[in-house]
Symmetry: C2
Subunit: 221 residues, 2 copies
DNA sequence: ATATTTAATTTCGGATCCAATATTCTCAGA
DNA sequence: TCTGAGAATATTGGATCCGAAATTAAATAT
């Protein structure tokens, strides 16, 4: 687990963390305008660090910005969701292939540990912890590729759909499925079988898309 | 040519433009720390819009940031350069394939116009204008794909190596080569031949890498 | 009642100021 | 001459304040 021992070094980092959390939990809903004054006061900071944090989120596409109009929490249409997953498919394939060339036994151990955390959190019903562990799992592989820009792009893509992944995990049948699929991924990594790994990753991603369709369909009504 | 009729809507945009230009022209050299006070005064603005512009550049990887230490213009090692081109290869293939499905005759016309601008600027020896027109050429194709995140990623990757592309164009033989290769690209687009287009684009990219190697080798000494 | 103009209010963008941290410089001691 | 402690300086991060633009509300005319 990540331990947040002391408050972040700078206020902007603190604000950034809080904003991410607020977006993830829906406290800042998609489409909602961000009132800097109110939000800054609520966080107990001035608007300066808030605005710098928002600039970061803008760069990641988490919020949209129009000069003199301010920031709005980004909305994700089905089209956008599909783009994110299409790009993930392409970039994660590259990451997986590069990673297999370089991956160490220590990395594989970390992969297994992260997976164990996913399962434990899942059984405890702690969706947030499960999402965090799941991310560690996948980014252990991505990090092994040793491509910082690729890593950053994937990080942005993951962030964009964080909300819906949590939704996906909230169903128990999906949690079982994740468990099973992670096993397959670990096996493919152990065997250093790139094609198999890519296939497993594709299969693993497929589940989430239908959850998004259901969710937005429900939202429409 | 882009006409900068009136100053940008906001000061941060003005500052952002200036910073990009300064990095591109080497007035802000890689590895050089950015002194906010001095730079802000030089631009005739306060530090607030400067800092917001720097946050954007940080997100794009153009500058690096360490809390309480400030911003430094990013340096590009050979390894980084190769990563950028590897990612461009992957993402531009996707963009090209998607674009061919959707591209209109008007897009093709714009492609030809952009190419004409490249040639004209090249003959006039205006490297900056040539680089701008070249970018318009390639992003006409990328835009046709209609994938905003893909577009943004590619924009970041292009920005990261802008300097070296200008270097590449400064040699006349390279300019001729670009002319010829752009023709091939336009032909492939006209024929809606995706595989051929991807092959042409790969070939087109290949040239720049050696320029980078030469440049850094010279810099080492 | 609706549309349009005008006034009031909200909100944003930027400048200035101050505190906290990093860096540089000075000087004593080994 | 080199090293380390401490002071002086430089630089960043954040708060507050103000002007400008956008939004909302009110008032007038159609």
């Amino acid at each position: 687990m990540d331990i947040e021992a002391r408050p972040p070094q700078t206020t902007q980092q603190y604000v950034l963390d809080q904003l991410r959390r607020a977006i993830l939990t829906g406290k800042l809903a998609p489409g909602a305008p961000i009132r800097q004054d109110a939000l800054a006061e609520q966080l107990g900071v001035s608007r300066v660090p808030l605005r710098e944090a928002l600039k970061i989120l803008e760069g990641e596409g988490q919020v949209t910005y129009r000069p003199r109009r301010g920031y709005v929490v980004a909305e994700l249409a089905l089209e956008d969701f599909l783009e994110v997953y299409r790009l993930r498919r392409i970039l994660e394939e590259e990451a997986a292939r590069q990673a297999l060339d370089k991956i160490t036994d220590a990395d594989v151990t970390r992969l297994e540990e992260a997976h164990a955390d996913v399962v434990n959190a899942g059984q405890a019903g702690d969706i947030t912890a499960m999402a965090a562990a799941n991310r560690r799992f996948h980014f252990t592989l991505i990090d092994a590729a040793g491509m910082p820009r690729l890593r950053r792009f994937l990080s942005i893509l993951w962030d964009a759909t964080d909300v819906y992944r949590s939704l996906y995990y909230s169903e128990e049948t999906n949690r079982d499925r994740v468990d099973h699929e992670h096993h397959g991924i670990i096996e493919a990594v152990r065997a250093r079988d790139a094609d198999e790994l890519v296939r497993r990753l594709d299969e693993h991603r497929a589940g989430t898309v239908s959850t998004f369709r259901d969710f937005t369909a429900k939202r429409e009504t």
